[in-house]
């Protein structure tokens, strides 16, 4: 059958339609339809409930988002989380991958150990980090009672920037393993001959990394960057569990604020507009990165 399909063009063989239909239907129903519907919703004062009339409001929801100080703060907090977590995850993940790629004994054990945080539940580790960073938590105990550096009353989660930094630590810790696996695969794909030739030319370790490894994993680097940036914009659980956006929405990120506006305030049009603003930012960043990497 595969041969038969191969012989005909896609237009000619309707059996292709049957094979693709379930996937196309699912994508249409659960991906494209909601996106289109949400785009439409962003121009309405969207009402839910029986016999409710939604009013067309043009760009009012978009104006409301830009005028909302909490939405602006949540965007800044998200960008702060992104700036802290994305480079740190890539650098640490790459470092671990570079170390592990050379190890022959127990390499699977090391991979497993570094990957464990990735498969651990977000909620569970967020609760653990909350305990570590709380006023009576492990970190304050360590700083005060073990190394006697502070008096033990540092409020890591009490105000905006320390709390955002604490949540970023969680994001970094949890993301290293994923980056390690991605970079490990990329490193293994670089032909060994390049390194052998470099050895003959007498290059040092930095030159090997700069001129062979880095160009060899450029595509993977771009992939990791784009995925991590999207992931940073989608961060929800660390904030929801560690601070709940408190105090006074100081630690809100876009997704927690979107959730609050959708389910607590029932402002569905507003939330749809906010989500499209975030999507647009993601697209702009991704296009910029693709161009930057292509140019090189």
């Amino acid at each position: 059958m595969a041969e038969s399909i191969k012989r005909k063009t896609k237009r000619q063989d309707p059996r292709l339609l049957i094979l693709l239909f379930p996937g196309i239907l699912m994508m249409g129903l659960f991906t494209f339809y909601p996106i289109i519907k949400m785009f439409i919703m962003s121009f309405f004062d969207w009402k839910i409930g029986f016999n409710q009339q939604s009013l067309f409001v043009g760009f009012q929801n978009y104006r409301d988002v830009f005028a909302d100080p909490i939405a602006r703060r949540s965007l800044v907090n998200t960008l702060y989380y992104l700036i802290l977590t994305v480079p740190a995850q890539i650098i640490l993940g790459l470092c671990v991958a570079l170390l592990i790629v050379r190890i022959t004994r127990f390499s699977v054990t090391y991979r497993l150990l570094y990957y464990l945080p990735v498969i651990t539940s977000w909620v569970v580790v967020a609760l653990l980090f909350r305990y570590i960073f709380s006023n009576d938590g492990l970190l304050n105990y360590f700083l005060a009672d073990v190394i006697h550096l502070t008096n033990g009353s540092v409020g890591w989660l009490s105000s905006r920037w320390p709390a955002m930094t604490a949540t970023a630590f969680l994001g970094i810790w949890k993301g290293i393993g994923w980056n390690m696996v991605i970079f490990l695969a990329a490193l293994q794909a670089i032909p060994k001959q390049y390194y052998e030739a470099a050895d003959i030319d007498g290059v040092n370790n930095w030159q090997r990394f700069r001129y062979i490894t880095l160009p060899g994993i450029r595509g993977t680097l771009l992939f990791a960057l784009v995925m991590l940036i999207i992931g940073a914009f989608n961060t929800y659980t660390p904030i929801a569990v560690m601070t709940e956006g408190n105090p006074a929405h100081q630690t809100e990120v876009v997704l927690t604020w979107m959730y609050t506006q959708t389910f607590d305030s029932l402002k569905l049009g507003y939330s749809a507009a906010l989500s499209f603003i975030v999507t647009s930012m993601n697209i702009v960043i991704a296009v910029f990165l693709f161009r930057a990497f292509k140019a090189k």
């Binding site: 309707p14 239907l25 029986f50 409710q52 009353s153 409020g155 006074a248 929405h249």
Partner: protein, 420 residues
């Protein structure tokens, strides 16, 4: 028909079957067949940890035995999940037949047009409502009609650690003074779990102020009145002195129950469930209770509790069976059983019964507090209004903004919300 056309025909038939198969999962409930039992879907947030779900299951069995044609299908959802599922179901019409949820849900759900107008739908609603206390049942009213029946009620009292507070306060001003006096590096005098309407209204009301105008049309001159400013300013001063805190003001601080239980907090004002929490988690805690201390005006707590609600998505047979279940759950026997697991009865007979009193030793204090407490504004926007109060009061308490500025902003934002 040649073979090519036949094959095309078969392919289209296959596609149609596949689509039909997929869509069949979205089909609505099958119509009721005569003689088959009616299944009532019941969403609730009865606390499993407090033993309430065990009692509920026993009551359901009893109800089903009395009503052989009805099966109750209960589903536990925590507070926000309960609300969110109704919000989602308001669009898809996938709603339960009965819900037992926060009294604040009534105006919200009614604004979505999903609730059954119960007083006009059932001839015996008035008769059933007569057995219920007026104040809790008033929370089910919107305009001239009732969209629910009170399930249980509560208000708040003062809990204090007797090892830290030797003499209970005579009034609110004294309560704040004691909080300041006893605070040190290890102890915070007073904990407030949140800073929204549920938590702050009681202080403003008890000092003679209010958060909204009596017709709920404006917050200007109410939430930013001199009385409200004084209340929040006192809290800000206490916070600066290390005598006032809470998990929403400081996410790194201990929770109110754990903080009280471990002696980090000395006083809190909360509902009847807190007594159960302390008894279960910290049985050795030397806890004292009393009515919320009076302010300049009186001791005016916030009325809390839950109501039973029904949904327009149910057919007539389900509505009638659901109504019978609600009447069963609000009758004396079921209310006494629920009192044994911490639910304050709304049924007049149950509230005055010796059995309920034996089950809830704090019932007399709460019953006294219920006489002077008030309902929060019964408006669909209350959740958002309460959220604004929380944000602005917290900003003021943390010193991010002067108290007057924060409350002026609150008034402006609330008025914009009320105008919609």
């Amino acid at each position: 028909m040649n073979s090519k056309n036949r094959r095309k025909g078969m392919i289209w038939a296959l596609l149609i079957i596949m689509v039909a198969g997929l869509l069949s999962g979205c089909a609505s409930e099958e119509p009721q067949v005569a003689g088959e039992p009616i299944t009532i879907t019941f969403w609730h947030n009865y606390d499993a940890g407090a033993g309430q779900q065990e009692v509920l299951n026993a009551l359901i069995e009893e109800f089903q035995a009395e009503n052989p044609g009805v099966v109750i299908d209960p589903l536990y959802l925590e507070w926000s999940a309960l609300k969110n599922n109704v919000v989602a179901g308001a669009t898809t019409r996938m709603l339960p037949d009965v819900l037992r949820g926060d009294i604040g849900f009534v105006p919200l759900f009614q604004s979505l047009n999903v609730l059954v107008e119960m007083d006009t739908s059932f001839d015996d609603y008035a008769k059933a409502a007569e057995t219920i206390m007026d104040a809790p049942n008033s929370t089910a009213a919107r305009g001239e009609h009732f969209y629910g029946l009170a399930a249980n009620t509560n208000t708040k009292i003062l809990y204090y650690n007797k090892d830290l507070v030797s003499t209970p306060p005579a009034n609110l001003a004294e309560m704040w003074d004691i909080a300041e006096e006893i605070s040190n590096d290890d102890v915070t005098g007073f904990v407030e779990a949140w800073m929204g309407g549920w938590n702050l209204c009681q202080y403003i009301w008890s000092n003679g102020g209010d958060v909204l105008s009596p017709d709920y049309s404006t917050a200007e001159g109410y939430i930013n009145s001199p009385i409200a400013i004084d209340v929040i300013q006192r809290m800000a001063d206490l916070h600066e002195a290390g005598a006032f805190n809470g998990p929403s003001i400081d996410p790194g601080a201990p929770g109110d129950t754990d903080g009280m239980g471990t002696g980090k907090y000395a006083m809190t004002i909360d509902g009847p469930w807190k007594a159960k929490d302390f008894a279960t988690k910290y049985p050795d805690l030397n806890i004292g209770t009393m009515q919320m201390p009076a302010g300049d005006a009186d001791s005016i707590g916030v009325l809390g509790g839950e109501n039973f609600m029904m949904f327009e998505s149910s057919d007539d047979a389900h509505k009638q069976a659901a109504w019978e279940f609600i009447k069963f759950m609000t009758a004396k026997d079921a209310q006494i059983e629920m009192a044994k697991v911490g639910q304050m009865p709304v049924n007049r007979e149950a509230l005055n019964s010796q059995e309920a009193l034996d089950a809830m030793p704090l019932l007399p204090i709460f019953a006294e507090a219920l006489e002077t407490c008030r309902t929060r504004p019964v408006i669909p926007q209350w959740g958002d209004v309460s959220g604004i109060i929380n944000t602005k009061a917290t900003e003021a308490v943390l010193g991010l903004k002067p108290v007057k500025t924060a409350l002026d902003e609150a008034a402006k934002e609330i008025d914009a919300l009320l105008a919609k």
